[in-house]
Symmetry: D2
Subunit: 302 residues, 4 copies
Amino acid sequence: MVPPHTALMKLDGIFPPITTPFDHDGNLYKAKVRHNVEKWNLTALAGYVVCGSTGESVLLTGEEKLQLWGWVAEYAAPEKLLIAGTGMESVRETVSLTNQAAEAGYKAALVRTPHYYKNLVSNAAAQMLFFRAVADQARIPVLIYNVPQATGVDISAEAVIQLSEHPNIVGLKESSGNIEKLMRMTREAKPGFQVLSGSAPTLWPSLMVGAAGAVLALANAAPYSTIAIWEAFRTREYGAAEDWQNRISRAAVLVTAKYGVPGLKYAMDLNGYYGGPPRLPLTVPSPEAKREIEEAFKDLKG
Amino acid sequence: MVPPHTALMKLDGIFPPITTPFDHDGNLYKAKVRHNVEKWNLTALAGYVVCGSTGESVLLTGEEKLQLWGWVAEYAAPEKLLIAGTGMESVRETVSLTNQAAEAGYKAALVRTPHYYKNLVSNAAAQMLFFRAVADQARIPVLIYNVPQATGVDISAEAVIQLSEHPNIVGLKESSGNIEKLMRMTREAKPGFQVLSGSAPTLWPSLMVGAAGAVLALANAAPYSTIAIWEAFRTREYGAAEDWQNRISRAAVLVTAKYGVPGLKYAMDLNGYYGGPPRLPLTVPSPEAKREIEEAFKDLKG
Amino acid sequence: MVPPHTALMKLDGIFPPITTPFDHDGNLYKAKVRHNVEKWNLTALAGYVVCGSTGESVLLTGEEKLQLWGWVAEYAAPEKLLIAGTGMESVRETVSLTNQAAEAGYKAALVRTPHYYKNLVSNAAAQMLFFRAVADQARIPVLIYNVPQATGVDISAEAVIQLSEHPNIVGLKESSGNIEKLMRMTREAKPGFQVLSGSAPTLWPSLMVGAAGAVLALANAAPYSTIAIWEAFRTREYGAAEDWQNRISRAAVLVTAKYGVPGLKYAMDLNGYYGGPPRLPLTVPSPEAKREIEEAFKDLKG
Amino acid sequence: MVPPHTALMKLDGIFPPITTPFDHDGNLYKAKVRHNVEKWNLTALAGYVVCGSTGESVLLTGEEKLQLWGWVAEYAAPEKLLIAGTGMESVRETVSLTNQAAEAGYKAALVRTPHYYKNLVSNAAAQMLFFRAVADQARIPVLIYNVPQATGVDISAEAVIQLSEHPNIVGLKESSGNIEKLMRMTREAKPGFQVLSGSAPTLWPSLMVGAAGAVLALANAAPYSTIAIWEAFRTREYGAAEDWQNRISRAAVLVTAKYGVPGLKYAMDLNGYYGGPPRLPLTVPSPEAKREIEEAFKDLKG
């Protein structure tokens, strides 16, 4: 079931894990999906991750995910690579969602580590069983998604290196910001395995040590600044890269570790995208948080 | 929307969080649900928790939960209190599931703490907002479910004590085994708020310090031994209670912390219930684990 | 080198891990050591632990420890059992201090788990090597001291059970408040091995499940209330025990987890003992903390 | 008491935190201190850190530390900068040791965060109080030492940035390998504040993002390879730097996270330095560990 063109898919560049627009009744807001995607289409973003952590995927039903995948596929410019967040706790449901995303035109699936039964699934053997079982049945390539700050589980470099041998596991998104681990994976995984950074505050050093690209929440609200780092890296203008890195770091922390998706949505509202309200139990940022976000983004255009 | 009889619901006694039977294709196995429930009906178990962590709820779809709730409601003896595990990350989906459980005849909902966006939802303010929002809209009483070994989030005694003031939040299941916290909650929560232990290895001391009852994975496979502790406690036969406690502790650890749901299902198979296979990524115990479970259960009848 | 009378030493009852009095230049304050010990001599406390965590042992030099051991040995009533806190990271220094304490008349040594090189010393093999090496060379019996809230290391029940076979390891102080672990150790360790609780908020349930006694910071400031629980337990007046337990729990948390040694010293000052200032980086409690302590201790006499 | 030349001290380059040679009775081994130091004198190492974590400082007495400081000062080449590890839990003892090191000719003191009373000393206020109190009384400049893998305490970037304003706190050694934090400190601390990496597997990216130099256990056994990265960085030969980084990473992990000081001492023995035995509870590596170390070091000369 492995697609013949796996080896050709390039994951380099910057991908936003796009936020999910809700209206004020908390329903999906199709017009704003279109607004955001069409605005991002004008940038050099490499593609879109739809229904990741930043997309509030754990607050969505399966039907809502299908709707979002369809809408984004409709509005995305043809050159944008589409990646679907499809990870669930069970192999069965992850495969089902992945193959539904494939039918909707998605080219790869981002699958987070299972984490609920921590005593049973946080060891390398269980993780490898899970990802192999998913990848065997998935009709599109699989990217491992490691995000210990949410899951409380950290897949080891060793397990990832072994999983890189699977023909349908083509890469990994590492959101921990652990540079040592990222270096080890880029050094020891199968050639062609692509490691994506999920941490904007370490984007530049991640690229320097071998990351193929990055999936960055910040890129929803401030795509140009993250692309600037990517371009400076590619053209070996390291001074410019470091300078841009220093300019985005504070803003990046505010819209992830500190204020999360609600903070990011507020930054999007500031920059001409639709952020809007999150779903409960997430809540809009406090007035103080909003001021802090305004301050951090005042030199970062959309 | 708070039901008039909340104050009358007694949660004392022993409840199994029932396992979910799957056939060898991984589908729900209705005949075995019936077999197990009818066998438990013959015991003094106080009721059933359906779709808790032990029920592999995170590996089930919403539709499957509805089916299970329906089947158990159909087969349960009328005196058994029915509790539905309905917690999801969003308020919206938790309320929806809770009210579907209410329609299926369930008398209370067990709602675990949200935990995915740990930086945003593991503080007391966010936890209180979540549980109040759910309880405001739920048509049956709500029990808070604290299980840090799975969620990586531990709701504080202070937050629970404040939440106990809500008229539709009637109790809590505490699975951490933290006796100090359990004592504090029973001492300081609103009178009538019922604290249930979720930890069989500390059942007897939990009852001694004020737990109203317990929700115990072990009670799926060995209900009589857990009921024996409950009865010895109620009749003040403390020597017998301690003796039974010592007899069950090893077995209890094997079917929770050590081998989890797959280990419990194997113990059920040994004791005349249907355990069967778990869903992937959970897997059947190794031969060594099976032998360890056989040894621990050889004096614990079903 | 194992003393012939090991088997006879009874560690039952309540022991304060005594605080170390400093004058306002930060030097040891001999007159106040005498004042406190002579006042405690009038109670039914079973003995004294000198240079434990509560004694700010990690803030003392080796010479100061020797001085304290000498002074307390001089002032203690003859029926009080003397225990010295002698744990250091190295076997060599722990043995040296232990045997100096033996010469000063101490009957047992309380030795905490090594913890600095966590990657090397927090496994069972290293812990067993450490305690066996110390116990082999110690001229007085050894008590294992487990205090994960300070060390970040938690010795397992399995390791303790194996160590209980050593003829010169006679017991353990468990400060985590983990009742399940305490039950397992009392159930499976060698008969005669004595488990002491180090957690006042769980004193009564700890005694119910088999603790021989307790080493309690709170007993410095409020010895009578902790002894009351002990006596009620021994005479099977469980209602009284639970009642006293509920009365002390808030105060116990304030002088340990919440405000630590500085809070305890302030409570001692309130109750006719000398508390005085701690050593930097510990600092005297804030005015708000002091008021909270005053409130909690107003019904707990010295 | 702040020395007038603080601003001039440059901490750039590579420093080994030197191991402490013991003979087979476990006593300090002066001849081997001389052997090692004279061999390191022939390299471009920037100086020596004496009595750090790698020096088994927590297994040494105060007297032994003084001896070591004296011997190393005697044997070190004059251009080598001498730094003493002087951190203790108390301000009093830390100041005392620091000023003894100053008398012995040491130019700076490396002071780790206090960590035993975690509930009281792991907040920013207590950490700032501790370091300011030490720095106020120290006769040589102070370097903050953050090593959460040993202490269980992680001083925040914010606290470090504030402490960088103190005229006698001139830098920090960060051993966590957290590149995001390192970048933030180099970006926001007072100009001139020097951040040293304590993590060899991230040496090159640490230098790229602003570290002034590094204190690396690996430099005891393989100084040339760590110096090669430093020199490649300074001459902007980034390909060479990355290449060397990839060559050392496996070895670096073996002699720190995986096998610790005993593993490092074995690697020193392989490379013509004296490693020798560690002090108990540390033990010599197993035969398998030794083979793994031999393999990793076979291309890394001393």
